[in-house]
Symmetry: C2
Subunit: 93 residues, 2 copies
């Protein structure tokens, strides 16, 4: 059973009030040194069996059509999730 991760973030020019709220809360909790926070979405799509190129192609298309709003969001990564110790096959744009 394989999984594909799709990362979606607001475009840099779009205001991100959730991220700003986090950025404002960090120093109040004693976490200094962070200058900006942006919050986005992470989808994990599960497939039967191993992830194939067809799955990845479908996931990339679904990411643009369903998982993101291309007017305000960017699909920053579509990649295979390695269930083990890390993630592989980065496709960061």
């Amino acid at each position: 059973m394989g999984s594909i991760v799709v990362d979606v973030m607001l475009k840099p020019e779009i205001l991100d009030p959730q991220g700003q709220a986090v950025a404002g809360a960090l120093p109040r909790l004693g976490f200094d040194g962070f200058t900006d926070v942006r919050q986005g979405k992470r989808f994990v799509l599960t497939v039967d069996g191993d992830v194939t190129d067809e799955h990845l192609t479908a996931a990339r298309e679904a990411a643009e059509k369903l998982l993101s709003n291309p007017v305000i969001e960017d699909v920053v990564a579509v990649r295979v999730l390695d269930e083990g110790a890390g993630e592989s096959e980065d496709d960061e744009q």
Copy 2:
């Protein structure tokens, strides 16, 4: 200017209505082959200069204390974002 990515997902045993909505919409749009979808959050924390071990330690602590609700969510990754072609220093748990 470096960035740290924090990935937060609902625990597997927690119902994910947003993910279920996406999973239901995929076949209606012609995307077959996906058996499950889970939706989580992705935070990008920006720091001045390069990311240090102190930044990563602070980010891991912030991830547990502020960015996730440990009752229902897991911090699945805290890693340095490589602004280039991919992501590095995976810390998937």
